[in-house]
Symmetry: C2
């Protein structure tokens, strides 16, 4: 158990290091919150709160910095949902999302089932970076 924890910590450390970033307290702590427990979608604000709650004093600016650095390194993906907030997704593979209107809540559509067919050719000189599908949900009105 102690063994496992140590191994994980090392893995996180490596992940940060491999991204070309110094494994500072803050970055490692944030990376741990982000990557230690499976796929997550978080806003900067949310991650910041979690870090504080976990006893890691980190500033919001640093959270933003780190999120963008991780994104540039390919460890995160930015999630396009309407509204002010930017969400960062720890699952960088092609997959899609439910978005609950009014609650600003996002969760994964289990991969597999959904697929898009007949994607058109991108215009000359452009290539497809990725495809995002957002299924917007609302409370069923009886």
């Amino acid at each position: 158990m102690d063994h496992k924890v140590r191994k994980e910590a090392v893995a996180i450390d490596m992940r940060v290091r491999d991204a070309g970033l110094r494994p500072t307290r803050q970055r490692v702590a944030l990376a741990e919150l982000l990557f230690a427990k499976g796929d997550r979608h978080l806003s900067a604000e949310e991650l910041h709160e979690e870090a504080i709650a976990a006893g890691v004093p980190v500033s919001l600016a640093t959270v933003y910095n780190s999120l963008h650095q991780f994104t540039d390194a390919g460890l995160l993906r930015i999630l396009a949902v309407e509204g002010a907030r930017t969400y960062f997704d720890t699952n960088t593979s092609d997959h899609h999302h439910f978005f609950v209107e009014g609650e600003n809540r996002v969760f994964d559509i289990e991969t597999g089932p959904v697929s898009v067919t007949n994607l058109p050719e991108p215009p000359e000189g452009m290539e497809i970076a990725n495809v995002d599908i957002v299924v917007r949900l609302r409370p069923k009105r009886s």
Copy 2:
């Protein structure tokens, strides 16, 4: 020709009226810019600039107000793309978009070809409001 213009103006007027809104100068002018020439995706800022350029002095706040009123009335749809800006789409039917990274440019994917299969069931008590597909494009790196 003059005939056509007059008919169109009346149609726009009706459209605003049917939305339960008074056909004020500003609203009619904005509606005309929005609906007179086919499907468009605009940000508030862009519409504001167009209005000013067209010699209709309207404030940005009023543009925002009108866009939201039209949206509530079902004449527009809000488009979810990453980034700060909110886009409003005059095409309210289910259709999808290309988004050009870096340029903040949005355009329609011609309907027909694309389709999504195997959409999962929404969770209990929820229903699908709509499905947005955004195909993010980037310049092809040689």
